[in-house]
């Protein structure tokens, strides 16, 4: 631990001398176990915070799924959680690695990787899979397994399944080139078949055909007994031309990636085979390209081969490769950690390609054991990342410059190589001509040779007849001696003697024929030898030139590797820069968010103030309105009073008029009754009365005027009150407008905060994807079809049930002796057998999952997809629904018989999701079980079904 800390400190101090620092670190830690070095390289290289270590429960589920292809049983999980030992993770890893299920899961993984679910053609899955299984069980080193596959011809019955890789790809050289490149070297060069890869600088047509040349002579040979083998014809250089460039004809000998062309031994024309081709015989060339491929790739020194498998085994546990996709290794898609990939390739080779030990080291690493959450304290660390970013940017510029230089160096090396090839060409031409001549002569020679062989065969046949006749004849003579009287016998003996004589004559003739034919062979033999002498001479002259070409090509290979490494370094640091840029944007984004959240409070305060101003002013408005109402009432009252006064005034005026009319009429009557006293008195009285009334009216009019004054005053007062109200209302409107504005400001602030939140979330989610790729946090890994099948069977108790059935079956059919029962080795062997039998019994069920969740035949595995037919299968097919039914102590049966519903909830979650439920989850389970108390079994099954169909179950995390 202290050592690691010290190294980490070094790293910090080293600063810009990053590469140097790495070199020092790897030197300093050379003695550390691989898993420690993995963590060192990841940590020093990531320059971003890492997720914490996963909890025990998460760890055990993950490591079980990865190593044995299914989650732990609830029992195992409980024991693991209860174990206080600090070494318990190591112990768990070792226990899993030693189990039969580990071999099963790794075998299946390799099977899918190598054969991609191709259907049976020449070699059956039923033969291939057990061979692979036994290989994994014996912990056969990967390079040996690969060598057996790459060199396979199907002849040795014990190794015959290995030829499936070739035969079930129809022995088609282009398909084999693509798939060998992808599966064994991590490069998919398909597009380089017709031209240099249009989008990937490093995938060249010459590389494609260099690999192709190993397979160009390969073909499926059907022997007379109908058995099919992968056979090989001797073949020359492969020529190719880009479909886009006329006159681009080029040629290559077999060539492995990262190596110069193969210097094949020279054979004279006609001398290439130890068994020459014919319709009935499988040819065997003296030099097998495929054996050479198998040897060169797997001898431990081929970098791409080593790194490919290291990357694939890494992906087997981590869910994604250091290079990802696994078959697109090139500088524009660099490994996330090139130094680590290099280390893993080298170390795996040093471990003698021991897959089990290698997987163990990966599983022990902290990198593997991280949680799938994002690291805590991101924002704080984001602030600090700016300095690192600057440092990397400086580094990036230097690396780009370096990559350009090495590209120029590579171009120069290629030019030199091409010049050397040009110099070789005339000699090559001479050689080709001499060989063509010799080949012609060889035809004659072969005919003569065949004549000798034919003659010899005839002779041998006759000699055999002669031998058996001699024997028969002697026997017959013997019999005749014993039965001298028997004429028939004597006659028969005579026939034999005669026949023998005849045959002897024929033999003499045939012997002469042989001698003749042998003599006739002399001349062609001499001619053939003569034709070979110039070849030897040219070969001798060619050698120094070829040596130069080879040396130049080696220089090209080295320069190209340097260029690739430099480009890789530049791209990778470029990606780190992107990642860090994103990371450093986190703090400002968080600040913007905080600011916009702060603004919300501010705006809300303003809104509250505006609301208060409205509230405060409301009484004023009310008051003014009340005053107006009052003034209104007063005005009404004054007007009514005035009207009454005016009515009275009118009435009085009318009365005066009536009295005046009466006086006028009385005076008119007086004209006719002159001086009538009564009339005169009446008229005078009327006049008096009128004057009296006039006086009253005048007096009354003062009252009316007073009423008018009152009314006017009231009107004025109302007018004033009304304008008061208007003013108050205007003020209120103003204040309401202020509030509306404040409300809008609050909404805008919320929107801004939401937008900022979204930006931040997006950054975090992008960072999660990037860090997953950098192994700073554990990636979510969808279960493979097989993993899903076995996992569902495991948690529903189906697997356990079938283990028991198989065990009982074996105990019945092949009972163990008492001695065996006490022998741990035999007991272990029995458990392996139990697993085998269980596997056979459940294979059909796995098939249903593979059809539904697996990528189709001959499609690269690994792409995740979620389709509606999967959900329909999970929901409605009998498979899953019947497995959740209660049966022999499986989780649903236990839940039904458990009286304590909280305990039932715990059991459910621990069994299916390998963790305890949260309080809310527990409550929900209890509520579900109580919702239909009379249907507890149905409820338990529905709950189990629901958990089986969560993302939490579907993914390994």
């Amino acid at each position: 631990m202290i050592g690691r800390l010290r190294i980490a400190c070094w790293m910090l101090r080293c600063g810009a001398g990053f590469a140097v620092c790495l070199a020092l670190a790897s030197h300093a830690s050379a003695q550390n176990p691989l898993h420690v070095r993995i963590d060192q390289l990841i940590e020093s290289d990531n320059r971003v915070p890492a997720a914490p270590v996963a909890s025990d429960a998460e760890f055990l589920r993950r490591v079980s799924l990865d190593l044995i292809g299914m989650p732990p049983s609830a029992e195992d999980l409980r024991a693991f959680l209860a174990d206080a030992s600090p070494e318990k993770r190591v112990v768990a890893i070792d226990r899993l690695l030693a189990s039969p299920q580990f071999v099963r899961h790794l075998t299946t993984t390799l099977d899918v990787m190598l054969m991609e679910r191709r259907r049976n053609q020449h070699i059956k899955q039923e033969d291939w899979y057990p061979w692979l299984y036994e290989s994994v069980k014996a912990n056969k080193p990967w390079n040996q397994l690969a060598r057996e596959i790459l060199a396979a011809d199907g002849v040795d019955p014990a190794m015959r399944p290995a030829v499936r890789f070739y035969l079930d790809r129809e022995s088609e050289p282009n398909l084999l080139t693509r798939d060998t490149g992808r599966i064994f070297f991590g490069v998919d060069m398909q597009c380089a078949q017709c031209h240099n890869h249009p989008l990937i600088d490093d995938y060249l047509q010459a590389d494609y055909f260099g690999l192709y040349a190993f397979f160009s002579g390969g073909f499926a040979f059907t022997a007379p007994d109908k058995q099919i083998y992968y056979a090989e014809r001797a073949s020359g250089e492969v020529t190719f031309a880009s479909v886009f460039e006329k006159d681009s004809q080029d040629a290559t000998a077999p060539k492995l990636l990262g190596m110069p062309e193969l210097a094949e031994p020279h054979f004279y024309p006609g001398d290439e085979y130890s068994v020459a081709p014919s319709d009935t015989v499988r040819p065997i060339p003296k030099f097998s390209r495929r054996s050479t491929l198998a040897e060169l790739a797997t001898n431990g020194s081929h970098r791409q081969f080593n790194e490919n498998i290291a990357n694939r085994l890494w992906a087997h546990l981590l869910g994604r490769g250091l290079v990802h996709p696994l078959d697109l290794h090139h500088p524009a898609n660099p490994p996330s950690h090139p130094e680590l990939l290099k280390l893993l390739g080298e170390e795996f080779a040093r471990m003698n390609f021991d897959m089990r030990s290698f997987l163990r080291e990966i599983a022990l690493s902290q990198t593997y054991q991280r949680a799938y959450d994002l690291p805590a304290g991101l924002i704080e660390q984001s602030n600090a990342a700016g300095a690192t970013l600057q440092e990397l940017q400086t580094q990036l510029a230097a690396l780009k410059e370096q990559a350009q230089q090495s590209e120029a160096a590579c171009d120069a090396a290629v030019a030199e190589w091409n010049a050397a090839r040009e110099a070789l060409k005339p000699v090559q031409k001479e050689l080709a001509d001499a060989r063509a001549k010799s080949a012609e002569i060889h035809k004659k020679f072969a005919a003569a040779e065949k004549a000798v062989a034919d003659a010899q065969a005839q002779l041998t046949a006759q000699q055999a007849i002669a031998a058996s006749l001699t024997e028969t004849s002697a026997k017959a003579a013997e019999t005749v001696q014993k039965l001298p009287q028997d004429a028939e016998l004597a006659q028969a003996a005579q026939v034999f003697v005669k026949k023998l004589e005849e045959i002897k004559t024929q033999i003499a003739s045939l012997e002469k024929n042989v001698a003749d034919k042998q003599a006739a062979l002399q001349a062609p033999t001499a001619e053939l030898n003569a034709s070979r002498a110039p070849i030897d001479e040219i070969l001798a002259r060619r050698q120094p030139l070829a040596d130069v070409v080879l040396a130049k090509q080696q220089a090209v290979v080295a320069a190209r590797q340097k260029m690739l490494d430099d480009r890789t370094a530049a791209t990778r640091i470029g990606q780190r820069v992107e990642s860090l840029t994103l990371f450093t944007s986190l703090a400002p984004q968080q600040q913007s968010l905080a600011a916009s959240q702060g603004a919300i409070a501010q705006r809300e305060t303003e809104l509250a103030a505006a609301a208060k101003a409205i509230e405060d002013y409301a009484p004023v408005v009310t008051e003014k309105q009340a005053a107006l109402q009052l003034a209104d009432a007063e005005l009404t009252k004054a007007n009514e009073a005035l009207q009454a006064l005016k009515a009275e005034e009118t009435r009085r005026a009318k009365l005066i008029e009536t009295v005046a009319q009466a006086e006028t009429q009385t005076r008119a009557a007086l004209e006719q009754l002159k001086d009538d006293a009564d009339l005169t008195a009446a008229a005078d009285k009327l006049k008096q009365k009128n004057e009296l009334l006039q006086t009253d009216l005048t007096e009354y009019r003062k009252t009316v005027t007073a009423g008018e004054t009152t009314a006017t005053a009231a009107a004025q007062k109302r007018e004033a009150a009304s304008s008061d109200v208007s003013a108050a209302q205007t003020e209120m409107t103003n204040r309401t407008n202020v509030r509306t504005t404040a409300e809008q400001a609050v909404a805008a602030a919320h929107a801004q905060a939401a937008a900022d939140q979204q930006t931040l979330d997006k950054t975090i989610s992008d960072l999660a994807v990037r860090w997953e790729g950098q192994f700073g946090t554990s990636p979510l890994k969808p279960l493979t079809a097989e993993q899903l099948a076995w996992s569902v069977m495991q948690v529903t108790g189906v697997y356990e049930r079938y283990l028991n059935i198989s065990r009982a079956e074996l105990d019945k059919n092949e009972p163990l002796s008492d001695e065996a029962r006490n022998d741990p080795a035999q007991l272990t062997a029995r458990e392996w057998k139990v697993e085998q039998l269980t596997y056979q019994k459940l294979l059909g069920s796995v098939g249903a999952f593979v059809r539904t969740y697996g990528s189709g035949e001959a499609n690269p595995p690994g792409e995740f997809f979620a389709t509606v037919d999967q959900a329909l299968f999970a929901g409605n097919a009998g498979t899953v629904n019947s497995w959740v039914a209660p049966a022999t102590k499986n989780v649903t049966e236990r839940m039904i018989s458990e009286a304590d519903l909280n305990a039932a909830a715990n059991d459910l979650y621990l069994t299916l999701l390998n963790r305890l439920p949260t309080a809310a989850e527990s409550a929900a389970v209890v509520a579900y079980l109580q919702s239909r108390p009379e249907e507890k079994s149905a409820c338990a099954q529905e709950l189990a079904w629901a958990l089986l169909n969560t993302a939490e179950f579907r993914f390994n995390h």
Binding site: D188, L199, T867, L872, F873, G875, G878, E942, A951
Partner: protein, 427 residues
Amino acid sequence: MKLNYNCGTREHLLARRSFLGGMAAGAVVGGLGLFSSPLAAAELAKQQKRVVVFNMHGGLSQLESWDPKPGTDTGGPTRAIATSVPGIHVAELLPHTARQMHHLCLVRGVNTNEGDHGKGIYMMLTGRKQTPAASFPEIGAVMAKALTPADASLPGHVRITPGGSGGRGNDSAYLGPKYASIALGNGNPPENTNRPEKLSETADKQRNDFRRFADTSFLERRRTAMTDAFTYSYEQAEQLMRQRDIFDVSKEPESEQQRYGTHDLGRHCLLARRLLESGITFVQVSHSNYDTHNENFNFHLEQMQEFDYAFATFVSDLADRGMLDSTLIVVLSEFGRTPRINHYYGRDHWGNAWSVALGGCGVQRGAAFGQTNANGTKVDDGEVNHAMLFHTYLSAVGLNSSHNFDIGGREIPMADPAFGPIKEVLA
């Protein structure tokens, strides 16, 4: 220096977006993926285009169908009859179809130069030659990907198979299983669309509610595109089950069923109509078997009789319902049959001069393009191949067939970039 070229294999698309930035812009063929622009998708959604393919399994004889040669050494006993389009004649075995000719467009100059069943159908359904180390999606997967709205609850690629139990096909190559066909075995609804007997609708809903609830705590910790796709597949399944009747042809009125014929092909054609009406993008119907090495004429007499009536009814129904403007009809085979009649009165495999019939959306109506010679032994005029036909199908439904699919940052041409559509056939 990189060239702007393409040989049309999936590996060409290896450029991932993330590192495209660092490369010459010219390296990306055709720019962004098909529906990077939501506008394009919206435009198509306005009138969603649909496609139906009739696969005349085994190899329909062009001489007994679209391109008869009566009275010649190769014509056999088959006579020609007039159609609803003056000047276009078809074999007498297609009397009802002849009356629908004004909706159809014959392509009579097909030369695929391929006489192998497997290779032939691969070319016709994918528009590419089969090569050992590359695989391409079938027309149904391409149409489903290009034409089906992202949130569609029904599958976009449906195959009505003569038999079998259903399931998902392996026919979508790099487009992924999402666009693989869902098979309707002998016209039955998709597999697993019935709730288990013992499970009530309410209980199913409850368990699904609990499933959603149970996922929340996990998804709060980590939610990714994969988890989204996974949870969405369950929503889709629920929607599909609600719409299960769409796949049940027995829900059609009895009179309709009688009209199409009660034999398998009749039921399948009616089902195809029902599916297209329900908005399913692509439906493939198979009619088996036309591989008539023996007794070519008798077999075609029987087979064509079934096909003619059901197909003609289908075409006229689509026309009546106004669906022809949005539905492309394709009648294809893996190849045609030899003009030469062998001594078993059969015709053998022949890909050098044969016919494909189109109709509906985006193609000329009542037309015949291309011509074979007098006795049908070679194409005289308007020679086309599988790749050009494939481009034509895409163009007919309004797609730019020179565009690329964008598969996880990999650019893949939708159709063989060495060819283009048959302009004369397009409306």
